[in-house]
């Protein structure tokens, strides 16, 4: 059992959890993820690590309410226990000195880009952070990211803060204004990562994204998370989750992520009903 040490609201539908998992905390590196199963009947879902403290023995994750499992998880309180947490899984991000690095985060992906911002800064890079969300409430961890960024830009879909429009258009604007990047790292919804890849490709900027396909075991056993990279099938859990964005078949990933859409709706509806009954 893994105890929730601390819970924080990042946005109306995004919660941040600090979980006691000392073995994982000792090993966690930016770009890695954990598999979580909240209770005996739960499914296993991958969640990207946002932070880890080997001293406290805790790991941090950020959870966006999307289906039954994430909704149930977000209703858990400090002191509650999660049945299973396994990790850290996946290959860590390649942190090195590249020069000028743009870290692009969209939605809950902002939380996932945070450890990379920190790590790239520590490795001596000039870090430009570019964050995007639907509204200004969604610009989570802005101040934390600012602390480790040489420059910070934000975009909102509704124009409530910063650039009015999608985050890849802000990136495009910055590039066209003459900003040079040696590396772009992007984490967010698949259409956003696809758009970022499309933005950087004509400029020949190396771009890395972190993929979020459906997983079961997360250790290379089931192949549920297979993605096509450079025309070859890869398992995101053991070969990734980070890949060269210009090689990824994003359309296939979007289709594969919809495999259980009906079942996910059904589970969520049943869950909402049971919650309503208890009230």
């Amino acid at each position: 059992m893994y105890r929730i040490v601390k819970k924080e609201d990042l946005a109306p539908n995004i919660k941040k959890f600090e979980i006691y998992a000392p073995l994982i905390a000792k090993k966690a590196k930016p770009g890695q993820f954990v598999m979580i199963r909240i209770d005996e009947k739960g499914e296993r879902i991958p969640l990207t690590l946002v932070d880890a403290s080997p001293e406290k023995g805790t790991i941090t994750i950020a959870v966006l309410e999307a289906g039954k499992t994430t909704k149930k998880l977000n209703s858990m309180k400090e002191g509650d226990c999660i049945a299973n947490v396994a990790g850290p899984l996946g290959i860590p991000a390649e942190i090195a000195h590249y020069g000028r690095v743009a870290c692009v985060g969209g939605g809950v992906g902002i939380a996932c880009i945070y450890p990379e911002v920190k790590a790239f800064k520590k490795a001596g890079n000039y870090v430009v952070s570019i964050l995007g969300a639907r509204t200004k409430e969604g610009l989570i961890l802005k101040n934390e990211i600012k602390e480790f960024s040489d420059e910070l830009y934000v975009a909102t879909d509704d124009g409530s803060e910063g650039f009015h429009g999608f985050v890849h258009l802000l990136l495009k604007k910055l590039i066209e204004e003459g900003k040079k990047f040696d590396l772009v790292v992007a984490v967010g919804p698949v259409p956003m990562m696809k758009a970022v890849a499309g933005t950087t490709k004509p400029h020949g900027i190396k771009t890395i994204v972190s993929l979020n396909p459906i997983m079961v075991d997360g250790t290379g056993m089931c192949g549920s998370c297979r993605v096509e990279v450079g025309g070859k099938t890869k398992f995101a859990c053991v070969d990734g989750p980070e890949f060269d964005a210009h090689q990824i078949d994003f359309d296939l990933l979007m289709i594969r992520n919809k495999r259980f859409v009906e079942e996910e709706c059904l589970a969520l509806n049943e869950y909402d009903k049971s919650c309503a009954c208890q009230r």
Partner: protein, 475 residues
Amino acid sequence: MAKIREKKVPMPEQPPEERIKNFKEVPLGYTPEMAMEEASRCLQCKPRKGKEFPPCVEGCPVNVDIPGFIKAIKEGRFDDAIRIIKDKNSLPAITGRVCPYENQCEGACTLGKKNEPVGIGRLERFAADYERTRGLIIPEKPTPNGKKVAIIGSGPAGLTAAADLAKKGYDVTVFEALHEAGGVLVYGIPEFRLPKEIVKAEVEYIRSLGVKIMTDVVVGKTVTLEELLKEYDAIFIGTGAGLPNFMNIPGENLNGIYSANEFLTRLNLMRAYDFPNYDTPIKVGERVAVIGGGNVAMDCARWARRLGKKVYIVYRRTEAEMPARKEEIERAKEEGVEFLLLTAPTRYIGNEKGWVKQMECIKFELGEPDASGRRRPVPIKGSEFIMDIDTVVVAIGQSPNPLVPQTTPRLKTTKWGTIEVDEELRTSLEKVWAGGDIVRGDSTVILAMGDGRKASLSIDKYLSGNDKTWRTVTQ
């Protein structure tokens, strides 16, 4: 002396039309009377000249004293029977269900030369079930010897090694990557062939011997083998064949195409058959093609039948070459699985939403025998045809799990990714043994258990002896 029955005492089982409507076990087990009658068929053979054991025991990978336990059953001494079995086999309720007896103990049975062999598997199952339903007998714990052994993987190889070493007084810790102990016994073998309650009980027995089982620990990620080596006196790697093989044909990543591992893991480990009571979903269409002819393919096909679907086994050779056990093939047929033999898919065709809707196949004929001794399937030019299908399960085998070798550069592997070992299952790394599918590739539960036993003997010899030199064939 009364004449011996020619055939085994039949074991009651669920009829096919009934069992495809539930997920319960198919054979129902012997009553004590049936077991005693079947046990009375045993001839109590002695070892043949130059052999250590009677033929059936020679045929058993863990050398259970088969005539001994059968005699005990015949005389109604059921507790003795299970004690005799457990002396060599820590998981009898499991092997009593999933062993390929026909190639092992029963294949060597003297009675089997003219009649049906003694139902050794059925009797083993009876003894194990008899004990379990009355509460497990826990053997006295031996005096701890102060030495620590780590076991990586809680499948049949790891559990056997753990039990054997714990009985000798070692302080044993098993590391399991998943949330439930049992390895392939929980994620791979279906409920209707091996009820999960039974695996749970066997794992509890192993815990009762003092073995600690740590789930959620992915060795190679959460801790490395090298780190474990600093803490433990010996390590056994039994991480299995966890990597699913695909055919790499066009359209294989379409929605609706599963690896056998994903299909079975969702259903078995995650209980997707009970969705939405359990959270993990599975989506199975109306026409299911299972590609492959092994036991795993039969398991997938029989699962799909229980979900109420039209099911085809698609296999490129004939039934005679199928690696699946005869019994499993028969049961699949009884349950209405259709066999498309000498056939294999060449590509999958999707609909506008990215779901598989058709499969192009090619027909084969059998040519000359290949390296495996089986006749090689040769594709027939121009025999391609298209069939409507909306779900595919690719069950063409697994490869060794790469997590431990990848993160342990000093560990020697073969070109197939299996770990290199010598005759005592010692790896290239001192104090590290390996067995089961991580060494064998893609094999059976009982051979993995045999490896667990063999490694435990070698570990004990190494840790209790004075000779600490490490020689392996790979060096």
